[in-house]
């Protein structure tokens, strides 16, 4: 098998659990390099739980799953950090640190993930700031930025270690439509350069405007738009 055809994410007959609560049963799907995938489903259906299982924040106890080459069933505690360095995480409860500048927020992540060379770190920060379109803001404090700008920094932070995949949980949730659209375009751009993206969202307008593969959680199962045709709009969402 060719290396590039090896999926980045592969779930096979996996159960997703929150403590003892079975959220999703027996799910299987794959995500390949460079794919853009929406994850939808009504509130409480298990989108966040699935994403958290992906980066080993929730344990996988039944079935099989491989992410970025790590087997989630057998992964050891000390390997989890290395798995996470291959994943960019964009979660609403993972905000910027309010007590330091934007640049220091990025430096903080670099130091925590083993960066040592200050010159390389500085270069990487300007490169990332440029990439998310905020080249001049690195010395500002997070509260001096708008919600949309902060979200761009969060994306920059997720990109620091050149992850294979970005996992975003409702990244446009609190933003007004125009700003959210800008964020979506940034995701599209990042995706174009080869990073896979798995995004949980409630925003159907985006799915219509930027159509791509959709995974839909319905009654504890996963529907995959690449395999069957289904209506993404659900009256109960």
């Amino acid at each position: 098998m060719e290396f590039s055809s090896e999926p980045i994410v592969e779930f096979a007959n996996a159960d997703i659990l929150q403590d003892d609560l079975l959220v999703l049963r027996n799910i299987s799907f794959k995500i390949f390099k460079g794919e853009f995938v929406y994850l939808i489903g009504r509130t409480g259906s298990g989108k966040s739980s699935l994403l958290r299982t992906l980066y080993a924040d929730l344990p996988l106890k039944k079935g099989n799953a491989k992410v970025a080459g790590y087997d989630l069933r057998t992964i050891q505690k000390k390997q989890i950090p290395h798995l996470r360095r291959k994943i960019g995480i964009i979660f609403q409860d993972f905000q910027l640190l309010n007590d330091r500048t934007i640049a220091d927020n990025l430096f903080f992540v670099m130091k925590a993930t083993g960066w040592k060379d200050t010159n390389k770190m500085k270069a990487r920060v300007s490169e990332l700031m440029m990439r998310v379109g905020l080249a001049t803001l690195s010395n500002k404090m997070p509260h001096q930025l708008s919600g949309g700008e902060q979200q761009r920094i969060v994306i920059a932070r997720a990109l620091i270690n050149e992850p294979l995949i970005l996992i975003a949980d409702e990244p446009t949730g609190n933003l007004d439509p125009e700003v959210a659209d800008g964020i979506m375009r940034l995701f599209k751009e990042i995706n174009k350069s080869g990073t896979a993206i798995l995004m949980a969202t409630h925003n159907h307008q985006f799915i219509e405007k930027y159509p791509t593969r959709v995974l839909k959680i319905e009654q504890g199962e996963i529907l995959d738009s690449s395999k069957i045709v289904f209506d993404i709009t659900n009256p109960s969402v």
Binding site: Y55, P81, F91, A112
Partner: protein, 293 residues
């Protein structure tokens, strides 16, 4: 504008250092007492004295007879072979009394009521209570001797006191170390709680456990060792005072033992800091950060 940036692994250190310092000081005191107990009881043994009080109006010839009898005894010899007998005349006895108590009987009475006496320094070999009792009884038989006295069981008393003090110190040291460990545990729990966003962020971006622990561990290690140094300074001060109060103790000091106690205290301080923070950090890293409070 001053920014107050939270740093991982920082925690209020005053109480922790105070508590480790206390534990180590008490423990060090215990060790120093153990070291000095031997020298101290030797010192006491070498200075055991017996008072032989003579009859009033004793004739000079009888007195000289008593003196030569005493001088011939082995127990009045020092270990170096010197005879250790001192005569205190009635006048001298009165003078000593006046110096000690500030009262002068001769001003009221025509004659001092204090008898003349011999002070014998007893050879350490005879300083146990059985020998002392025998010697005292023997001397009391001599004609012209009115009374013999000595401080009974002085050594036993001192040894018992040392033992009791040592026991109290040892138990307190154990309790204090336990308290320090609990305090460090609790301090780190609070630090984890107040730094939970930092720690959570680090975990999410893929910081290793070692990277997250390191600042806590190195801080506790350094503070433990610093506490050790502070307690060594305190103990040195105490030793200095003890030595200047008790010259003889200073002459018997065992510098190498003291130095190794001091070195051990610093190492132990570091170890207490490191191990108890290691235990705490591990415990709390295995817990979900929301469970900390």
């Amino acid at each position: 504008m001053q920014r107050h940036k939270k740093t991982l692994g920082s925690y209020p250190s005053l109480m922790v250092m105070f508590s480790i310092t206390m534990s180590l000081t008490v423990l060090g005191l215990f060790a120093l007492i153990l070291i000095h107990a031997g020298s101290f009881s030797r010192l006491i043994k070498e200075n055991i004295e017996m008072n032989v009080y003579l009859n009033e109006n004793i004739s000079d010839s009888l007195r000289m007879e008593i003196e030569s009898t005493l001088m011939r005894k082995r127990y009045t010899q020092s270990p170096e072979g010197k005879t250790q007998i001192r005569y205190i005349s009635k006048e001298e006895a009165n003078k000593i009394f006046v110096e000690t108590y500030g009262e002068d009987f001769t001003k009221i009475l025509s004659d001092s009521p204090l008898p003349a006496s011999y002070v014998l320094k007893i050879h350490p070999e005879y300083s146990d209570s059985v020998n002392m009792r025998q010697i005292a009884a023997q001397i009391a038989q001599l004609p012209g001797v009115r009374e013999v006295d000595y401080q009974e069981d002085l050594i036993n008393k001192i040894n018992n006191n040392i033992r009791t003090a040592g026991l109290i110190l040892a138990v307190s040291a154990v309790v204090l170390i336990f308290v320090s460990v609990l305090l460090i545990n609790n301090t780190i729990r609070l630090a984890f709680y107040s730094q939970r966003f930092l720690i959570r962020s680090m975990q999410l971006v893929g910081a290793t456990r070692w990277f997250i622990q390191k600042p806590f561990l190195s801080r506790a290690l350094i503070q433990g060792a610093l506490s050790g140094i502070v307690s060594v300074l305190l103990l040195s001060g105490m030793l200095y005072i003890a030595y200047s109060e008790l010259r003889e103790l200073a002459e018997l000091r065992q510098t190498e033992y003291i130095a190794s106690v001091f070195a051990s205290l610093i190492v132990l301080g570091g170890a207490i800091g490191f191990l108890s923070s290691y235990r705490a950090v591990h415990k709390y890293l295995n817990m979900s950060l929301d469970e900390l409070y």
